[in-house]
């Protein structure tokens, strides 16, 4: 009885919400009059009158996966932005240096004011974790943006021109994709004579390019044979306008979703490169991958100094993955309704 009532209420609500704009637009004119164009306007907000984005957002809001991901990402960004306020100490401060003795106590224990203890140089582990989020955010975002820019350029070239341009670009992309991404990133990063934060960013950006390029090229090709592109061509619209106004904006959706997923990959790969010592050699600015690398020697006796940065990396990239996956699902027309 109760569920039935609830269903009825929902239907009534729906009816009211569709009737309201109809009445508003009809402006007192008989809505049923078939030849009156104003009556036609009454039917405007039909089922498909809800925009793709709006309906995707509606489904996202109810998806627990998306909420968890979004909360994790939001927390991560807040921590990164407000790191100086949240962290009790500067990342290169060494308040615990006095407690370290190489043979008996290489790692300061957790104590008052230092809930996670210190690291091998007497710095506060918690503060370094908090500051580390900044490096991770910068590297992740810049590397993804770089990959996005390169991928969109190549994908647009291939999708817009087709023919031999498409073949050449896609063969290059195939070659890049055939190499394991981390191996490629390591190769590119080790080419730099002086490893720094930037070599990591560039290396990861290059690794991301082929993924974006292939994705964009695919949806550009689909757009090229679409009805609205044919209609635009039938009106003599210039080729550049067709590419940039009609094909590209309609192809970017999946690319943007992919970039959320790419953020998580970037973060993991940046950590991996730093872990291998291909990142910034200067450890005064904390970085999670670097901290993980530094923890290797003492991991057997003090697993917690490896656990915390690793956990941060996993949680943040999980957040981006959950968000990206649920967005992709929500925007996928096949899974709609």
């Amino acid at each position: 009885m109760t569920p039935l009532n609830r269903k009825k209420e929902r239907l009534d609500g729906l009816a009211a919400s569709t009737a309201a704009p109809a009445a508003g637009q009809a402006g007192g004119v008989d809505v049923m009059d078939p030849v009156d164009p104003v009556g036609e306007a009454g039917a405007v907000r039909d089922a498909e009158g809800v925009s793709l984005l709006a309906s995707a957002w509606r489904r996202l809001r109810r998806n627990p996966m998306f909420i968890i991901g979004a909360v994790l990402v939001a927390l991560f960004i807040l921590v990164a932005v407000f790191a100086p306020l949240l962290a009790p100490h500067a990342p290169d401060d060494r308040p615990l240096i006095g407690q370290i003795s190489a043979s008996t106590n290489p790692i300061p224990k957790a104590q008052d004011g230092f809930p996670l203890g210190g690291d091998e140089k007497g710095r506060d582990l918690l503060s370094r974790l908090i500051y580390g989020s900044r490096q991770t955010l910068i590297v992740g975002v810049l590397a993804t943006l770089g990959g996005l820019a390169g991928g969109v350029t190549l994908g647009t070239l291939a999708g817009a021109f087709g023919g031999w341009v498409d073949s050449v670009v896609m063969r290059v992309v195939d070659v890049l994709l055939s190499l394991p991404s981390i191996l490629l990133a390591i190769t590119i990063a080790s080419l730099a004579s002086q490893p720094s934060q930037w070599t990591v960013i560039v290396a990861i950006a290059i690794v991301q390019v082929p993924v974006f390029a292939r994705l964009l090229r695919g949806s550009m090709l689909a757009q090229r044979s679409s009805d609205h592109v044919l209609a635009a061509r039938s009106l003599g619209v210039k080729r550049s306008a067709i590419v940039f106004r009609h094909m590209l904006p309609n192809s970017l959706g999946p690319v943007f979703v992919q970039s959320t997923l790419a953020l998580s990959v970037s973060i993991i790969e940046a950590a991996a490169l730093s872990f291998l010592g291909l990142g910034n050699p200067d450890d005064s600015k904390a970085e999670w991958g670097q901290m993980l690398g530094a923890a290797q020697n003492l991991f057997d006796l003090y697993p917690h100094i490896a656990f915390w940065p690793a956990a941060c990396i996993v949680v943040v990239s999980l957040g981006f993955t959950l968000m990206g996956e649920s967005m992709r699902e929500a925007l996928d027309p096949k899974s709609r309704r």
Binding site: P34, V35, P37, V38, E40, A41, A43, V44, R45, D46, E48, G49, V50, S51, L52, S226, D227, H228, L230, A231, A232, R233, S234, L235, G236, V237, K238, R239, A241, R245, H246, P249, N250
Partner: protein, 345 residues
């Protein structure tokens, strides 16, 4: 009353040069490892300024391919287009892609079947209309906007100022088709090709769109090529009707003659297959039997013969020619048939 006025005005028109002369248009699709497929062969017709010419036939008879060939919109590879489509003295089929791009939208425009998928989903309606004006008339976006508003008003979109800023998904089906018509009319083309413009719409909206097209064409003296499978559309709109079957014209007539006295068995079948309100209850519908898949090759037979109730021996051995026949007050009647329906029927 209206009939007499349109007739006199058309008499005046026929003395003019035709706006578009399609001569012997053929389109052949080639695929490696497959027999070439003749989608359209030897199609010829004239369109006078202000005239509405119908191309009628079932799916796959080549009517859309004909229009795409005239517009130069067929894919570059995999097909051969021969013949002529002379528009105001220039053969459109011989123009370079760039020259053709300059003409499309300015001199010749097209309206498509599905208004939702034919509009760019991420660009507001107004922008899509102004884009065409900017392209062909060298207007700035600011100059084009009031014109776009006027145009939306002209095609019957209420509250055009607001609609200009809306996206296609916010409009109803009829509104979208009106917007598409506005885009096609943006630069006042002299020839408009409408490819089944009402198929995706429901019946009341269909009537509105057809009335709109009719009025626009009459007001501006635009010629219209109407591509449709719907004989109701033909009856309401077209001056001259070409019935296509298997890529060839099988019958041409004035619409009054065509409806009153169809001579080709296929035309007759199309007319007979329309359900009638006044037929007895329980009476069966009369479809044209078979499908296009049964077609014989035109080279040495009539393609329609296997589905034709009037077929005689000759239909399966020799190709009928398109010949002038008796009748037809204004439009000369043409017929491609060995054994046509008798005139009294």
């Amino acid at each position: 009353m209206t009939a007499t006025t349109t007739r006199t005005s058309r008499d005046a028109r026929t003395s003019r040069e035709p706006l578009l002369q399609v001569r012997d248009l053929s389109v052949t699709f080639r695929r490696s490892g497959e027999e070439p497929f003749h989608a359209v062969s030897g199609v010829s017709f004239d369109v006078q300024p202000g005239q509405t010419v119908g191309l009628v036939g079932e799916s796959g008879c080549g009517k859309s391919v004909t229009s795409l060939a005239i517009m130069g919109l067929l894919p570059k590879r995999g097909n051969t287009v021969t013949g002529e489509a002379v528009f105001e003295g220039t053969d459109l089929l011989k123009l370079s892609p760039k020259q053709m791009r300059d003409r499309r939208g300015r001199d010749v425009a097209m309206i498509f079947q599905d208004p939702l998928s034919s509009l760019n989903p991420v660009v507001p309606i107004g922008r899509q209309v102004t884009e065409v004006m900017e392209r062909h008339q060298g207007l700035s976006r600011k100059e084009a906007e009031p014109k776009a508003r006027e145009l939306l008003d002209k095609v019957g979109i209420p509250d055009p100022s607001r609609r200009l800023k809306e996206y296609p998904h916010q409009l109803s089906g009829g509104m979208r088709q009106r917007a598409l018509i506005a885009m096609a009319l943006a630069c006042a083309p002299r020839l408009l090709i409408a490819d089944e413009p009402t198929t995706a719409l429901d019946v009341t909206i269909q009537a509105q769109i057809l009335t709109l097209l009719k009025d626009l064409v009459q007001d501006s003296d635009t010629a219209l090529i109407m591509i449709t499978h719907d004989l109701g559309v033909v009856a309401g709109l077209c001056d001259e009707v070409n019935v296509l079957y298997g890529g060839r014209i099988v019958e041409r007539a004035d619409r009054h003659d065509l409806f009153a006295r169809p001579r080709h068995p296929y035309t007759h079948g199309l007319l007979a297959s329309i359900p009638r309100l006044d037929s007895a209850r329980g009476e069966r519908l009369n479809p044209v039997p078979g499908s296009v898949a049964d077609n014989l090759p035109w080279d040495h037979a009539c393609a329609f013969a296997p589905r034709c109730s009037n077929a005689v021996e000759a239909c399966r051995t020799t190709q009928p020619e398109l010949e002038r026949i008796e009748g037809g007050v204004e439009t000369p009647r043409l017929l491609r048939c060995h054994n046509p329906i008798s005139e009294e029927a």
